[in-house]
């Protein structure tokens, strides 16, 4: 049950007769009138229990984009329903008009559109729809909450998409589709063609030239159909907020850019989100939209407050591919004890694969270490230097083991990881 502002006003107006004839009888009569109005309105209101709710939620929306969820309400009672409906979205779904006025004639249907502006990635839920049905006087209402769950999957924003055109151009330059042919850009022999001015003289194929009149050059193309395995660490260190987003979100951005790039570069990409269990696994071996499958898989990921099971990672990589692959570990360099975790893992993976360790670097550290004007700030600078020293030491060890290390601030990590991939591909190390 609920009452309206109109009922409140009626009660307020009833103070006039109470003042005009101040005795107990007036008081009781006024109260009786109020109760009668309440009872009549409640009795004549359409039953909110007899409303059928049908829900249509969009399948996916990128963070920062807005969307519309649709509720179809059928009034199955014999009275016209007049009132309000509220869709119970969780706050981060950003329902702009969750509460709407409603008017459905008896036995008919209405469509309610709820505009959503999600502010968080992941699966956002709504649990119920609440219907408040006023009587003909608009004084009192019957209210019923109908359980009607729905889920909106909010996909990662993929801001790093803006780096894609430039990186793809670099990749095409490697691939020979661009105007410029670069010698050494790849290890696989592609074709022979006539020399044109500007070609590197070192790429002239003398044997072929000898067979023909014209000078012939060899063209190369980068390897194709190599495996790229991205291992995204969702353990406790991914919960750290660097800049204005958690490390996990930066990792997702970098993984998406790399995956799209590698996919266009003709390689086969697999992604594993892992801490102690596999949280998501996407592979481009299947047909269809790799990017779509990947964002769908990555969207519901949240940092888990457990330690990364480094011993389990090689097994997961082996489950994806039995061949040599580029293994990209998106993790953090300052985890508790890298001597027992990250370093043995990289050592083990590097025996068979090309390993890239990508980690978000906290720009606050670089600011803190320069700020030395007071004693407290000097200690802070020392602590920042300590953290940086430790990272540098771990990076040196990883490089010694033959791994590539990409250590960049949040906005720099996706393009730098993409550059590393292109460099490795150009060097033919895949």
């Amino acid at each position: 049950m609920a009452i309206s502002g109109r009922f409140f006003l009626l009660a307020l107006l009833a103070v006039v007769p109470v003042i005009a004839a101040p005795n107990a009888a007036t008081w009781l009569v006024a109260l009786a009138v109020l109760l009668a109005v309440l009872a009549v309105d409640l009795a004549l209101a359409a039953s909110p229990r007899r409303v059928a709710v049908r829900r249509t939620v969009p399948t996916g929306v990128r963070l920062t984009e807005s969307t519309t969820a649709v509720l179809r309400l059928a009034n199955e009672s014999s009275r016209p329903l007049r009132g309000q409906v509220r869709d119970g979205w969780q706050p981060s779904a950003g329902a702009v008009n969750a509460l709407q006025a409603l008017r459905i004639p008896a036995g008919e249907r209405a469509v309610v559109r709820v505009a959503l502006e999600p502010v968080r990635r992941g699966d956002l839920r709504t649990e119920h729809v609440t219907i408040r049905s006023f009587g003909p006087l608009g004084m009192a209402a019957r209210q019923k909450t109908i359980t009607a769950p729905g889920t909106l999957r909010v996909l990662p924003p993929f801001h790093a998409k803006r780096h894609l055109p430039s990186k793809l151009r670099k990749l095409r330059e490697l691939d020979g589709r661009a105007a410029v042919q670069i010698r050494g850009a790849g290890t696989e022999f592609d074709s022979l063609r006539d020399y044109v001015r500007g070609d590197d003289v070192r790429s002239i194929d003398w044997r072929a030239t000898a067979r023909r009149r014209e000078v012939v050059v060899r063209t190369w193309r980068p390897e194709r159909d190599r495996r790229v395995v991205i291992v995204l660490d969702t353990s406790r260190t991914s919960a750290a907020r660097i800049g204005d987003e958690p490390r996990l979100d930066t990792g997702i951005e970098a993984s998406l850019l790399l995956a799209v790039l590698a996919e266009r570069g003709g390689d086969r990409v697999s992604l594993i989100a892992y801490d102690r269990r596999v949280r998501a696994r996407v592979s481009s071996a299947g047909k269809g939209n790799m990017l779509g499958a990947m964002v769908q898989g990555l969207a519901p990921l949240q940092p888990e407050l457990i330690e990364l099971d480094t011993a389990g990672v090689p097994g997961q990589v082996r489950a994806v591919t039995a061949h040599r692959a580029l293994v990209v570990l998106v993790t953090s360099l300052d985890a508790g004890a890298p001597e027992e975790g990250l370093i043995p893992l990289v050592a083990r993976l590097a025996q068979k694969h090309v390993v890239v360790v990508a980690s978000v670097r906290d720009p606050a550290l670089d600011e803190d270490r320069l700020e030395r004007s007071t004693a407290a700030l000097a200690y802070r600078a020392a602590a920042a230097e300590h953290a940086l020293n430790r990272r540098a030491a771990i990076t040196a060890v990883l490089k010694q083991l033959g791994a590539e290390v990409v250590d960049a601030p949040p906005h720099g990590l996706p393009p730098e990881l993409a550059d590393t991939y292109i460099r490795l591909k150009a060097a033919g190390r895949l």
């Binding site: 009660a11 008081w27 049908r54 969780q90 249907r109 606050a364 030395r372 020392a382 540098a392």
Partner: protein, 424 residues
């Protein structure tokens, strides 16, 4: 979907994707409601029952907190005296106004009544006291006044007059009767110590009187704590505490009280109250000054306020929880380590971290490789900057700061050195 679609009543079975209010039939819903709210209903009902029972017990028990009330069992009450008198067959009746006292007096018949008058707030006008005395005399009743004021005592009996308050020294020890009144002689001595809460307003000391018979005079005085007129019909007692629960059993108090009060079959225990104040002399009360509609209107507005709260306070359905993921600021660990260094005064550790970081960066900038020997870095830096090598060696390798000031100086010097070596 364009035009509103009419749904047939019975076809609304369990379709996929259609949500309906659950709960089933009326009795099932009532059962569910009871399971959800039953505990609160029971708890609320129990609370209300306990409150009502407590209120009823308090009001039915008939306990009073008035001093010298016959239903007050506290030290300043007089329930003990009243119940003993009742046990002896005396009908004790409490009255709180002159009118009711006079009415009861005339109803009891001639010579059958003792009237006890206690006026702690001096509310009785002299005229009222005279009326009481006249009626008592007419119906042959004995009148016992507890600490009456000087004007009232004159009207009660012209033979008795007030003699001021007893000196503080006299109020401490028992006082012997010292007269021929049989009641006083039977009592022997009187405990005249006072009891908190009993006494005339603003004057808690016992009062002294002179009369045809004056008893219990404190040493060296002619006025006594008790005085009676020559006929014995009016007796004035200056210490009301004599009949209190606290002092009744002390010395001869009980004897005096029961002899004075228990000599007739009826006892009227009259305590003067506001009802005795003539209506004309009342100051107008707040209720008389305010218009008549104020109370009903404000009560109505209170109801309206409750309605307003119900209007604004009713939510549209239950609250929706937001599952918050854990996110920790990454620089927390750095801040924590900095505070630990500072609290532990670990200048040496902090300085070592700063020195090592500077050495690493200098080695990079001077192109010595990451595994360069520290002394080689010092040498190269000295050559690059033109500073003495010993000074740089002290700064980069051997110096250990012992207080915050030294650490601060060192940190600034290291930063300056890096600046100096920085490539243009």
């Amino acid at each position: 979907m364009n035009a509103p679609v009419r749904t047939s009543g019975g076809a609304a079975a369990a379709e996929a994707g259609v949500f309906r209010a659950g709960g089933g039939t009326g009795p099932e819903r009532a059962g569910a409601w009871w399971r959800k709210h039953g505990l609160w209903v029971v708890a609320g009902a129990a609370l209300a029952a306990v409150t009502v029972a407590g209120l009823l017990a308090a009001s039915l028990g008939g306990r009073s907190t008035q001093p010298l009330s016959i239903t007050n069992p506290a030290p300043d009450g007089a329930q003990a005296a009243a119940s003993v008198l009742r046990g002896q067959g005396v009908t004790v009746t409490a009255t709180d106004s002159l009118e009711s006292t006079l009415k009861a007096l005339s109803a009891n018949g001639t010579g059958a009544t003792t009237v006890l008058v206690y006026d702690p707030m001096s509310l009785l006008q002299p005229g009222q006291a005279a009326r009481l005395a006249g009626s008592a005399q007419k119906s042959g009743a004995a009148l016992v006044a507890l600490a009456p004021g000087p004007l009232a005592v004159q009207k009660l009996s012209p033979e008795i007059s007030a003699a001021g308050t007893a000196p503080a020294a006299a109020a401490g020890s028992p006082v012997a009767a010292g007269c021929s009144n049989p009641d006083a002689v039977a009592a022997g001595a009187l405990d005249v110590r006072r009891v908190d809460g009993i006494g005339a307003a603003g004057n808690p000391s016992p009062l002294l009187y002179r009369g045809a018979v004056t008893c219990f005079a404190p040493a060296g005085g002619t006025a006594g704590f008790m005085a009676a007129d020559s006929s014995g019909g009016v007796t004035v007692v200056g210490t009301p505490a004599v009949v209190s629960n606290e002092r009744l059993a002390s010395q001869g108090n009980a004897a005096l009280a029961f002899r004075l009060l228990g000599s007739r079959p009826h006892l009227l225990w009259y305590t003067a109250s506001l009802k005795d104040v003539p209506a004309a002399s009342h100051p107008p009360t707040l209720a008389e000054l305010t218009p008549r509609w104020i109370f009903p209107a404000s009560a109505w507005l209170l109801l309206v306020a409750v309605i307003g709260m119900l209007w604004r306070g009713r939510r549209h359905g239950p609250l929706v929880a937001e599952p918050l993921p854990v996110v920790v600021k990454a620089s927390e660990t750095v801040a924590g380590r900095a505070r630990m260094y500072q609290d532990a005064h670990a200048q040496d550790t902090a300085a070592a971290a700063l020195q090592r970081a500077t050495l690493t960066r200098l080695a990079q900038r001077l192109r010595l490789g990451s595994n360069a020997d520290p002394s080689a870095v010092v040498e190269a830096a000295a050559a690059h900057t033109g500073r003495p090598e010993q000074q740089l060696e002290a700064l980069l390798l051997t110096d250990i700061p012992f207080n915050d000031k030294q650490l601060l100086t060192m940190a600034a010097q290291l930063a300056a050195l890096e600046e100096e070596v920085a490539p243009r």
